[in-house]
């Protein structure tokens, strides 16, 4: 079966400095890929290149078999890629409800149909706060809102960039539960997170970035078991 997302030898630059040196990986339909690596190794740049926010100068990115590397960002997202960006980034001046419905849409080929009711069912904490401005939410609630907002676009592939970073342990647990639920529902996921212990049981495969290159790819269990590799690339 053709991969849902195929990233082939992409090279990305910030001005004159090169951030990615031929990164390649694939994600199959319904698969969960963990993208790992220390700070500054190119994880977020990879995500931004996939979405065309920081376009790759060379290489090929195909989504559902269609090359998308030259498309504008909004068109790539519309093709069915949802992003939960690093640092939450909700729309602070819009209400919770507006954050969810403003950018909602249906998308062909998504595993499940997400509606306002379903998102509020997934995150009951948001239900009583619908008329509140997003800026008045706690960090954890904002993160739930960011996940909910991405789900409301009914993506075929959902990308979570450091979705549990800086959250209280209880909230983290809730987010991890949500990710596990999405996986069980057949949602294809690209998850970036530093917490290998939590991520490994959920991921089907892992891909480790080191200085803008793919340094290691394989089963998450193998990475957990390989202390030397873990220490070398992740510092844990």
């Amino acid at each position: 079966m053709a991969a849902l997302l195929a990233v082939e030898a992409i090279e990305t630059f910030y001005g004159a400095s090169q951030a990615l040196f031929g990164v390649s990986f694939t994600i199959a339909e319904g698969e969960v890929l963990a993208l790992l690596g220390r700070n500054g190794m190119g994880k977020t740049t990879t995500v931004h290149s996939i979405l065309g926010l920081t376009p790759a100068a060379r290489g090929r990115i195909a989504f559902a078999g269609v090359p998308v590397q030259d498309w504008p960002s909004f068109r790539i997202a519309r093709a069915g890629i949802g992003l939960v960006p690093e640092g939450r980034q909700v729309f602070p001046a819009l209400t919770v409800r507006e954050n969810l419905v403003a950018t909602a849409r249906r998308s062909a080929g998504a595993p499940t149909e997400w509606t306002l009711e379903r998102v509020l069912g997934l995150f009951p904490a948001l239900a009583p706060r619908q008329a509140q401005r997003a800026s008045t939410l706690s960090g954890g609630e904002q993160q739930m809102l960011a996940v909910g907002r991405a789900l409301m676009t009914n993506p075929r592939l959902l990308i979570l960039d450091e979705a549990t970073e800086g959250l209280a342990p209880l909230v983290r647990t809730e987010i991890w539960k949500c990710i596990a639920g999405l996986k069980a529902a057949g949602q294809s996921l690209l998850v970036i997170d530093k917490n290998l212990a939590e991520l490994a049981p959920l991921a089907d495969r892992a891909c480790v970035l080191e200085k803008g290159r793919v340094a290691w790819q394989g089963m998450p269990d193998a990475l957990l078991a390989d202390a030397a590799t873990r220490h070398r690339y992740l510092g844990v």
Binding site: S73, F74, A77, Q89, F91, L94, A102, R105, E117, G121
Partner: protein, 336 residues
């Protein structure tokens, strides 16, 4: 388990701030309706013409708020659309009066023809200008909108056929479906109807998904792009809509003054519109109406007292911006 549908809807009872806002809006509408009677009662019917001008400026201020307050687009050339709308009406009247033609058209003085025409022509001019200007952002956007407005300003200064520097006078006001608009009170209510209709439309736009996305543009364009929204197109539609609103205001102004001049397009006028929006409360839509009334009203009062009224109004504005950052609407209606 999915939450029941009821919990997904907004609370049925409006919070106190919503109720307060409704009261303020209702009071505002009543005041607008009562102004001619108040002017007559005070034995100063000439004030109706003054209030008419306030109402006309309020339309332009609301339209600027649509892009400035909601979309975060600081256009410093909004007066260009105000002036262009006015010139379309005055030029149509000019040709109708002296029986000459423009591109084979003999002109018209019927409001139902020339007001929509003013809006359409302005929107058509605003489209390419917006398309170019919106390629930039921040200070560059401010400067490029200013530059385009100045280009239009000098265009009308140089067209001597339509009066150039001296402007162009209209012999009489437009007719509305054949009815005369000469009566000050009738014309006042026509302008108020336009203000109410335009503000209602803008409020509906703000509540719509288009409005939410536009508000998202102000907060973060990248986020919207990543969510699949072509922000450029949304901003362009908003820019053209705002220009259309200013054109309506300009068309009314041409009728109110029975005169148009390049001053209508000058950058000072754009600045005045911005002050009205900021004074009233950016992004509130209703605030700029109050902003227009207060700015022009204070200007009127102070200028009767001293010719150096700017010296007093300036510090007043500074105090207001520093201590009432949510504008008049924030003070009165408690919103934002």
């Amino acid at each position: 388990m999915p939450a029941p549908l009821a919990s997904a809807q907004l609370p049925a009872t409006p919070p106190a701030s919503v109720a307060r806002r409704r009261v303020v809006l209702l009071a505002g509408c009543l005041l607008l309706a009562a102004l001619p009677a108040i002017a007559h009662g005070a034995g100063q019917p000439f004030l109706i013409a003054t209030f008419t001008r306030f109402v006309i400026y309020a339309i332009a201020a609301v339209s600027l708020d649509l892009i400035l307050g909601i979309g975060g687009l600081t256009s410093f050339g909004h007066a260009a659309w105000f002036g262009l709308g006015g010139y379309v009406v005055a030029i149509a009247a000019f040709h109708a009066q002296d029986a000459s033609t423009l591109l084979g058209w003999g002109g018209s003085t019927e409001a139902l023809v020339v007001w929509p025409l003013a809006i359409a022509v302005t929107a058509l001019v605003a489209l390419p200008i917006g398309a170019l200007s919106l390629r930039t952002s921040g200070i560059h956007f401010i400067m490029i909108t200013l530059a385009f407005a100045q280009m239009l300003f000098y265009l009308f200064v140089s067209v001597k056929f339509y009066g150039g520097d001296d402007g162009l006078a209209m012999q009489r006001r437009n007719t509305l479906a054949g009815a005369d608009l000469r009566d000050a009170t009738v014309f006042y209510y026509v302008c108020v109807a336009c203000l109410v209709a335009w503000t209602t439309l803008c409020a509906a736009i703000r509540r719509s998904r288009f409005g939410m996305v536009l508000s998202g543009c102000r907060q973060s364009e990248r986020r919207l792009l990543a969510l699949g929204y072509p922000v450029y197109r949304y901003k362009l539609v908003a820019f053209v809509l705002a220009a259309a609103g200013a054109a309506l205001s300009g068309a009314l102004w041409a009728n109110a003054a029975r005169f148009v001049s390049p001053d209508m397009l000058a950058w000072v006028k754009s600045g005045e519109l911005m002050v009205m929006v900021i004074l009233g409360g950016t992004g509130t839509l209703f605030g700029p109406i109050a902003g227009a009334f207060v700015l022009l009203g204070v200007e009127q009062l102070l200028s009767a007292w001293t010719e150096h009224w700017m010296l007093i109004l300036g510090p007043l504005l500074v105090l207001f911006v520093v201590f009432a950052r949510r504008g008049l609407w924030g003070l009165v209606a408690g919103e934002r």
